[in-house]
Structure formats: C-alpha cells, structure tokens
C-alpha cells in the first residue's frame, strides 16, 4: 500500500507539472489563431483515397520490423528507402519515392471487425443503430458541390458496401460508382454512360423537354419540393455527364501513352484466375478524374485479408501495388499536381504482430500503418513508430479521428464543425479528432 501511495503522488504531481507547462506554452494557440485569421486557401484541392480492403499488413510492407523475433518480423527482407528507413523488399519502387510521402507507423483504431472498421475508416464513426453517418466523400460533396460539371465523389470501380454511404445527408451526395473496372479484362466502359445505339442527340434533347413538361405538373401542385429538387439535380447532372466532352474524356483512359501506362505498371497478372492486376489502371483513372475536377476519388483494391500464407499473397500482389503507387506519386509530382492532391493509402486495420499457425496474420486494430502524400503533407518522413513487435504504437500515436481530421483540415474543412442531421440535429463531422501537426509540410 505505501508503494501505491507514493506512486500516486508522484504521478499526480508529474501530471500537474505537465499541465502547468502546457498552459505556459501559449505559442501554439497563438499560431492557431493566426492561421485561421489569415484565411489562406486550403492546401489540398482533391483527394485520391486508395483503400486496401481486408486489413493490410504493415509488417509485409512499410513497417517490416527486421529486428523483431522470427515469429513477428515481416516475411521479407528489407531495403533502405530514399529517406533512410526500412521498407519490405517487395516495395522497392515506393522506397524510391519515399521522399514524396509521410508514412504513419503509429495508426491505431478500435474494432478488428471488417465491416465496422471499414465504416469507421470512411465515416469517422463506429456504426450505431441510431444515426447513420456520412462518408468523407459525401461530406466533401455536400460542402463543396460539383466542380467543372463532374460528380464531386467517384468510386473506382465501385464502393465497398460496408463502408457506409451518405448517412444522414441526402443521397445526392453519394459516390458515383463506375460499375466498371478500368484495369479489368476487356474494354473499359463506364456503365450507362453513352446514348443507346440509334438514339440521337436531338432525341435526348426532346426527351429532356418532355420530362420537364411532366415534372412541371407536380411542381405546380406543390408536391414535395425537396424530393422533386433532388430528382431534378440528378437529371441535370446526368444530362451534363452525357453531353460534356470534357466529362466524358475524364471517365476514359483514351489518349494515355504507353509510357504513362508503364509508369503505373502494366502487364501484371495475379495468380488467382490469371486476372490482370487492375490497380495501375485504377490509379491512372483516379488521376484523370481528379485532374478533370472530381474532388474525392476512392479506389478499392481487394485481397489483403491474409489469414493464410501472407508471404505468398504479398509475393503475388505487392509488385503491382508497389509499381502503381510509385507511378501515381511520380506522375502527380511531374504534372505539378501532387501539392494540391492529397493521396491517402489506407486499410481498415492492420494484422497481428505474430505469424499464426497458417503462416498468415489475423486482424489487429491496435497498431498499423497508413500513408499520406501530397496536398500539403510533409514529404519524406516516417511519422510515429510502432513498438518492437508492431503490437502498439510507441511514438506519436495517431487515431483514425486524428487522421481524418487532418485530411479534412487539408481540404479546408474544419471537422469540428457540425452538420445538421435530419435538418435538426447537429453532429460534428469528426468527433474528438485533432490536427496532426507533425504531418503538415
């Protein structure tokens, strides 16, 4: 008991000292005040969100733990990155562009369950039965609206259903899904994106006018203006997409040179059904959309739930992923787009520190890695660190809320702001997130 007693006093006074110290430092607060008053334009104008579904292993990629015990360390040898850190050897190209990004090695979240964690990642909230929260893409749509007549939020090739939707916001802010894979087999064509054969422009125009005649009757009767307005907005957007040559060009890969295709990596074939590794073309598509005016693009890339033979899975899939990410960052930078395009590379959680009996790793939410690049994020750093076995964050832990708050911040959205759910109930965009200053350039 005496030992406890002493401990407590020691800890108490230590904490009090720390608190006092923090109060003395008014500088950060001052800086913050200055920042908001100067109203400088947001650093990032667009976001490309690469979502690696399943729970991507940091140990086999960007946090390989070469000195951990055999059961824990990454399954591959390591290489030095351009910034002098270690990556797993199957991420050679990314190692070569490590000077363009911040690798966050101290991520931690709450739930090692795919559905719930994916929802948390996309919305910033753990799912509840009471309120359905909107995805970041929906919030960005709602805050900024369309740019250059393009849908503000696009999902390539489609959105993962467990990641939520527009939640309490109107469905008009939802992701526009391509329902087609730019990296798949055969010709790439966005679904329902061209007039059917035999229907002329003139006819489309007549259809449009005929529809307006019909809508006017309901409008004159005063029937449900909000609903009519939403439908109208969808039709306006759809007409624009179908008739604007710029918009149509954005949704195709036509005109991309072989050199550019090679930059993102082409010709990779995966062992499962010998299908092409679609990721290079998907990321190239994302760059085109962002360049044309889309505000937030999510790219999904499946297959990282590696409970079994994780080394085999990474040997198969990592080269194409490595090539495409390095290609995207290089391409954006060469075009002068990286500074205004925030690239986020995420997964719903990480994987267990220790290799299991099936030579795989299981779900682990307490420590994992994610990457941010461009859009005003520090170039060439590793932020935070996991402990010796990648079990817990050891330095500068970053919660999902902090991570998302920081992304919102770079877009010029104060995520402490509240949105109105159901027109009446204010809810913070992100609850309890902090700006991670160490990530900002």
């Amino acid at each position: 008991m005496p030992a406890n007693h002493r401990n407590r006093i020691d800890r108490r006074s230590a904490v009090q000292l720390a608190a006092g110290g923090a109060l003395g430092l008014s500088l950060p607060a001052l800086l913050r005040a200055k920042e908001s008053s100067s109203e400088k334009p947001p650093a990032a104008k667009s976001v490309i969100h690469l979502y690696l579904t399943g729970g991507f292993a940091a140990q086999e990629s960007w946090d390989p733990k070469p000195e951990a015990p055999t059961d824990y360390r990454g399954s591959f040898n390591v290489i030095k990155t351009k910034t002098g850190h270690h990556f797993s050897e199957n991420f050679t190209r990314m190692a070569g562009v490590a000077d363009k990004m911040s690798v966050i090695r101290s991520m931690h979240c709450k739930i090692p369950d795919h559905g719930q964690a994916a929802y948390h990642l996309f919305t910033g909230y753990v799912p509840t039965t009471v309120i359905d929260y909107p995805q970041m893409g929906a919030v960005v749509s709602q805050q900024f609206g369309p740019r250059q007549n393009l849908p503000p939020y696009v999902a390539i090739p489609d959105k993962v259903s467990s990641t939520g939707g527009t939640g309490y916001l109107s469905s008009k802010y939802g992701a526009f899904e391509l329902h087609a894979d730019p990296g798949g087999r055969g010709e790439f064509k966005v679904k329902d994106f061209a007039l059917p054969a035999g229907v002329t422009r003139k006819q489309l125009d007549r259809r449009r006018r005929a529809r307006t005649i019909l809508e006017n009757r309901l409008r004159q009767q005063g029937v449900d203006e909000t609903q009519l307005g939403t439908m109208d907005e969808f039709y306006q957007r759809a007409y624009t997409l179908l008739s604007s040559p710029e918009a149509r060009a954005a949704f195709s890969l036509d005109g991309e040179s072989q050199a550019t295709r090679d930059l993102y990596g082409s010709g990779y074939v995966l062992s499962y059904r010998r299908q092409p590794a679609a990721i290079g073309a998907r990321l190239m598509m994302a760059r085109r959309l962002v360049a044309a005016g889309v505000r937030l693009v999510t790219v999904r890339y499946d297959g990282w739930d590696n409970h079994v033979n994780i080394r085999g899975a990474f040997t198969d899939k990592a080269p194409a992923l490595d090539h495409s990410i390095a290609g995207l960052l290089t391409d954006l930078d060469d075009r002068g787009m990286l500074d205004e395009t925030l690239v986020m590379i995420t997964s719903e959680f990480g994987r267990t520190p220790r290799i299991n009996t099936s030579n795989g790793r299981d779900h682990w939410a307490r420590s994992y890695s994610m990457i941010l690049a461009g859009g005003g994020i520090t170039r060439g750093q590793v932020y935070g660190a996991s402990d010796a076995t990648a079990s817990e964050p050891a330095k500068n832990p970053v919660s999902l809320e902090d991570f998302l708050y920081t992304v919102y911040h770079q877009l010029g959205i104060d995520a402490n702001n509240e949105l109105l759910a159901f027109g009446i109930r204010p809810i913070e965009i992100i609850k309890g997130g902090k700006l991670v200053k160490g990530l900002l350039a």
Partner: protein
C-alpha cells in the same frame, strides 16, 4: 490480516458515523456512478474500460464494479483510511487530471454519498437490497401552447420492497429532438420549435418517456372537420388536431387508383382497369376496388415476395449451408400458398417456428436455414433475428450489457437464446437434404457475466417456460399469442409501413421505449383489431386502404407542408426496385428475362438463385442492385435502400433496361392500331402514370412530336419521359 484490518476499520468508521444512515453500494453508490456518467459507453463503461479502469456499462454487473472499485488495486480507487484521498473522489471532482473532466464538486450530494460510503468502510451490501422494479416520469404529457415556461419533470423509482423514492437528481435525461423540446440534466423541459417529440429519463435499467407537444403561439387554427371513414381516421385526426395540423384533401380517382394498385399489387393499373374504374359511377367503387385487388394474384405475389425478402430467401448450390435451390423453392411455394389461402398471421408464423423435417420437402423448416445461411446453426443469430423479425425488437445489445435504451436485460437475452440451443440439423438422404429438428436435451445458454445456465424464458417473462414442453412449441405459442402485444404491434406496424412507406414506429425493426410510435393510440388500435380479426391481414389492410388517411392527396396545405410523420397528406414514396421494374415491364409490354427463372416471372417474385454459396450479399439482377433492393445479407429493414442515386438516373436515362423496354414494341403496336397522335399520347399517359394528360401537356407533347407523326421516335421519346418522370418512379 488485511481482512481483519478492514473489519476493524469498518467498525471504527461505523462508530464514528453511527448517527448517519448506512450507505448501500447497490442502492446509493451505483446510481451516482450512473448519473455522473462514469459507466457510460464512452467512459469506463466501454468494454475495454478507460485509462485502465473499467466499469460495467450502465452498471449491469454490480459485483464486478464493486470488485474493481475496492479490490482490484487495494487502497487506490477507494481509500478507507483517508477517504478524501480515494482516487474515485479525486478524479470525480477534478482534483487530479481526469480524461472525463470534473463530474461534480464536493458540495454535491453525489460527493457526500460516495464519501460517506467510503467512510463507512466501502462495504458491499449484506443480504438482499431492494431493486428498482419500475420508474415513472411525470408529467407523462407536456404541452407548450405558445408559452415558454419551462416544465420541471419528476422521476420516481418503485422498489421491490414496495417503497418508492424520488430519483430526479439521479436520473439521466435526453430529448429525441432538442429542436422541438430540450431537457436539461435537472429534468427541466424547455420548448423550441413547433412539433412533437419525447423526452426521456433513464435510471437503473429503465428508460421512460414523456410526450412533448409544442404549438405555435400565433396559431389561427380551425379544424377542417373532414369526414372520418373509419377508426384509423378518428385516431389520426385526433392527433392532427392536437398538433394543429390540417389534413390534405381527398385524392382524385386517378391518383387513388394508381396508388392502391402499386401498394396492393406492385404494378400500375392497365388501360382497361383504368377505364373501368374511372367510368364506374357507384359511390362505393373504391371499396369494391380494394376488395377485388385483395383477392388478386398480384397481391399474393407481392405479399409473398415481401415475406421472402424479409426471411432472406435465396437458393444456392453449396450444399453444406442447406439453402439449396429446391429448399428455397419449397419454402417460397409454401409461403405463397399461405398468403393465397389467407392463412392467419399467427398460424403462419407458428408453423415456421415449430417446423421440423426435410429442408427440401417441408418448406417452413427453411426459416432456420435461410436466417443463417451457414454451415451450422447459431442460436444467438436466431434469438436476434426472431425478435427483430417477429417482434420488431432488437435485443442483441443485451448480449454484452443490459439494453441501454430499452427494457431488455442480459437475463432476457440469454433466456431467449436458450430457445434455440437445441435446434439442430442432420444430413438427409442426399447431399442437398438436411433434417431440421429440436434436440430436447440441449443445454441452455450461459449468462455472460456469471456463467449461470439460463433456462428458456420468453422476453420479459418472470419465469422459464415449462420444461416439459418442447421449447419451440412454447416459444411459438408465446410469440403468436393474442396476449403478446409485441407480435400484434410489430405485424400491424409492418403492414402500415407497406402502405405509407413509413411505420408508426420507424425503422420498423427497432421498436423500443426510446423510439416511440408517432401515433401510439393508432398503433395500439391496429394491433387490437388485428387480434380481433384473428390475424387476418387482409382485413387490416382493407381498413387501411379504405381510410381517408390513406386516400389523402399529396398536395399540401399551409399547415402540413413539413409534416412527414403524422400522415396529414400523402408523401412522394419512391417505388421499391422490384415494383419499379415490374411497372416498366408492364407498361411497355416488355418480355424481360430473369436470371435462372422461367419466362414471365415478375421482379417481385424473383430471388437470387446461385450455383454457389448464399452466405454473402446477392442481387443477381443489375437493375435491382442499382435501385437498392435488399442484398438479403441480413434481416435488417435497412438492407432496402430507397434513396435515389446518380447511377440510377443514368440507368433510367440511357441504360439497357429502359432502352429495351421502350423498344419492346409498344409504340409500333399503337401506330399499327391506327391511333391518332393525341390518342397515342393519351394511351401512353394512362399506361405509365394512370391519368390522361392535361390539355396543356397534350399540346406541349404534340408540339414536340411536330411533323414526325408517323415515325416511332417521337412517341418513344415521350414514353421515355414518362418512365423517367417523378410521377412514374414514385407513388404519390
């Protein structure tokens, strides 16, 4: 040694404060932890605790909480030697840094209670402590009629020893809609914008609500006194008057015809149906139409399809999950037969719950295979799904803690799970076949906190069911009994929701004390009638469709523009994906195939039939997927997504379904019949939106046709515009 020490200490403490009443841990201390928010989910009540200290969520496990406060780290959280130095008090008053901040100060009764309890030796309770058995919140109804004086509420708790105490200062409060009425942490209610809502008090494991109505202060309101068609209107109108809303006018015949066709049969009326009804001059023609549609095959198909979706009916080819195509079809046909014969709902459910036998031959046994779509049965899934589906109640929260916003406890949950621990299947005569049966000697589920075996007990039941009885029969009897209000209310609410696209409780599968109906007396009466009709659902539907409320126009008046929950007008309701597709098919005469189904199948009859596994979200039809049909991945009502999207718009605009439908041959056929341009346009209008064009519309459309009177293109464009109109894709 330590024991002796604390005994000694307790003795001294007791002597020192002999004139003070003894503070009970369970009766006095636990409520303070609850009220101060210590054991809520975001703080120490989280499953991992917070900052190294964990409490049971909202105090469902007092023994564990007592241990963690007094014994986990002796002398730290509770220090009987120097009570003021107890971390519990230091943290709560913010004397040391505390993530949760300062919860209360030293002057409060909360502090005094905790401190006195520690002074008295931080003892656990000896023997039985009176338990709260109910709470009341008064006043039960609060009306703000233009005056803004706050109202103080009062919470009383009744205890098992017959005593009752004022616990206003120990309860927690919240409002379902603070922009209508807010309630502060002293239980004081203040009014804001016009509307109705509930405020709630929570104490111990109980939640209770009071209704609040806020009326505008400058109201110049006069009830329009429309004639009530039946009891539904009386109860709706009563509510509207209280809220100073006026109902819209009665809808015209064309609107009513289309509405009732879509809701009852899942397709719009044909041209002949239209003409017959509009030319009918009898005063009771709406009543007659409703009767006729209730007997139609389309009504049976739609009702069957809705049931099949709610039980996740799908046919697979992966034999170990027992949801083979043949099993699915046996189940589907069984459901269809019951609906066709108008089997009473209680018997319909009873048969499924108690079904035993082969999944291939005994259709209803597949309630069990379809709810899990897995290689083994899962009693907890059954418990959660049965309560959600048949009672509209979500009890799964109570797996880990007492339901925070409803009456369900962990005892309820585990007692209910025990009904399903014996449900088993064994391989049948061929790989696709399994026999479903109930193993009588199965051991019950164990309580999560203390591992106690919990004998099968109905929700809210005081004692386990008769162990002599087959537990499934006991369950089915209770479920479908006329006395089981939950069952009748859930059935009525779901039926109501089919016709208004909004339940009286919404979502329909989340009935709880803290989610009360928007018109409680109406839901009670519907449930009472359903029981009185001996669960004849057609009779209840007949009442609903004949009510003036159902037949109101969607044109708003000055009072009800914003009303979307009191049924003062018809709302625009997006058609279900399958109803929309069937409508497109019917109005254009398109012969559309459905994957793995014979020709002529309707979308409402379609369910996924796969050669593979059914244990994943499945649509199997691109149109239905795009338009938000349930993927049947869970029984949640939220699987159906009625919101419009850009992809849907593009699909209606240029997608292959619309295009094929328009080109299916309707326009050439009309041209061949030698109809005049106005005649063609009129027929297209009647087919698609069940009304004739107004003279302005007709003129404008003819103008668009111009001199292309003989080609198909112009008429097809008009047909396209009709399919793409809000009038077509919504019911109004």
């Amino acid at each position: 040694m330590r024991q002796l020490f604390s005994l000694l200490l307790a003795a001294t403490a007791a002597i020192a404060v002999a004139d003070e009443p003894v503070v009970s841990f369970r009766r006095d201390v636990m409520p303070v932890l609850f009220r101060a928010g210590c054991n809520q989910g975001t703080c120490h009540g989280s499953s991992r605790g917070k900052d190294g200290f964990s409490l049971s969520l909202f105090g469902y496990d007092w023994k564990g909480d007592y241990f963690r406060l007094t014994q986990e780290i002796i002398g730290r959280r509770v220090n009987v030697a120097v009570p003021e130095e107890s971390l519990l008090l230091l943290k709560a008053t913010g004397a040391v840094p505390h993530t949760g901040g300062k919860r209360f100060d030293k002057k409060t009764a909360y502090y005094q209670t905790l401190r006195r309890w520690i002074e008295q030796g931080a003892l656990s309770d000896a023997g039985d402590v009176p338990e709260p058995i109910a709470i009341t919140l008064s006043p039960p109804k609060i009306l703000f009629d233009g005056d803004a004086q706050p109202v103080q509420t009062r919470v009383m708790a009744q205890y098992s020893d017959g005593s009752s105490h004022d616990v206003t200062s120990l309860a927690l409060y919240y409002s379902n809609n603070p922009s209508t009425a807010a309630i502060d942490q002293h239980g004081r209610v203040t009014s804001a914008n016009r509307g109705d809502t509930y405020v709630f008090a929570r104490f111990n494991r109980f939640t209770i609500g009071s209704e609040v109505i806020v009326l505008p202060s400058d109201a110049d309101y006069k009830w329009s006194d429309p004639p009530a068609h039946n009891y539904i209107d009386e109860l709706v109108f009563d509510r509207l008057q209280k809220l100073q809303l006026l109902p819209s006018a009665l809808s015209d015949d064309e609107t009513f015809l289309r509405r009732v066709y879509l809701d009852l049969t899942g397709v719009p009326p044909g041209v002949a149906d239209y003409t017959r009804f509009i030319e009918d001059n009898r005063v009771d023609k709406r009543v007659r139409l409703i009767d006729a549609l209730l007997e139609s095959e389309d009504f049976t198909d739609m009702t069957t399809g809705l049931w099949a979706e709610s039980v996740r009916l799908m046919g697979g080819g992966y034999t170990p999950v027992a949801t083979d195509l043949k099993a699915a079809e046996a189940y589907y046909q069984w459901i269809k037969n019951q609906v066709k014969q108008n089997r009473p709902l209680d018997e319909f459910v009873y048969d499924q719950v108690t079904a035993s036998g082969s999944n291939l031959n005994d259709g209803p046994t597949n309630l069990y295979t379809m709810l899990v779509h897995d290689v083994r049965f899962r009693p907890k899934n059954f418990a959660a799904d049965f309560s959600q589906l048949f009672l509209g109640v979500q009890i799964q929260c109570a797996e880990c803690h007492n339901h925070p916003f409803d009456r369900w406890t962990m005892d309820d949950y585990y007692g209910f799970v025990s009904f399903f621990t014996g449900i088993t299947r064994k391989p049948g005569a061929e790989p696709r076949e399994f026999y479903v049966f109930n193993k009588r000697q199965a051991s019950p589920a164990n309580h999560k906190v203390d591992g106690r075996p919990m004998a099968a007990t109905v929700l809210g039941g005081a004692a386990p069911v008769d162990a002599q009885l087959d537990s499934r029969i006991a369950l089915a009897k209770w479920l479908t009994s006329p006395e089981n209000k939950l069952f009748a209310r859930n059935s009525s609410n779901r039926i109501w929701a089919r016709f208004f696209h909004r339940g009286l409780v919404e979502p329909v599968d989340d009935m709880r004390i803290s989610n009360p109906p928007t018109n409680g007396p109406l839901l009670d009466e519907l449930a009472r009638r359903l029981v009185k009709y001996q669960f004849d659902q057609r009779q209840l539907i007949r009442d609903i469709c004949n009510s003036r409320t159902y037949q109101l126009s969607s044109q708003p008046n000055a009072t009800n523009q914003l009303d979307d929950r009191q049924f003062s007008r018809a709302r625009l309701r997006r058609l279900r994906s399958d109803v929309l597709l069937d409508s497109i098919i019917k109005v254009t005469g398109w012969d559309r195939p459905f994957r793995n189904f014979p020709k002529g199948t309707k979308a409402i009859e379609f369910y996924p039939r796969t050669p593979g596994d059914t244990a994943q979200p499945l649509w199997f039809d691109d149109f239905l997927k795009t338009f938000g049909r349930s993927s049947r991945n869970s029984i949640c009502a939220c699987e159906t997504k009625p919101e419009p999207t850009l992809s849907q718009t593009l699909h209606m605009l240029v997608g292959d379904n619309t295009n094929s439908a328009i080109r299916a041959g309707l326009v050439p056929q009309l041209l061949k019949q030698g109809k005049s341009p106005p005649g063609i346009i009129e027929e297209l209008f009647i087919r698609c939106v069940s009304r004739k064009p107004t003279s302005d519309e007709l003129a404008a459309m003819l103008d668009l046709v111009g001199d292309e009177v003989e080609g198909r293109a112009a008429y097809e464009d008009i047909l396209w515009s009709l399919l793409n109109s809000t009038e077509f894709s919504f019911n109004r």
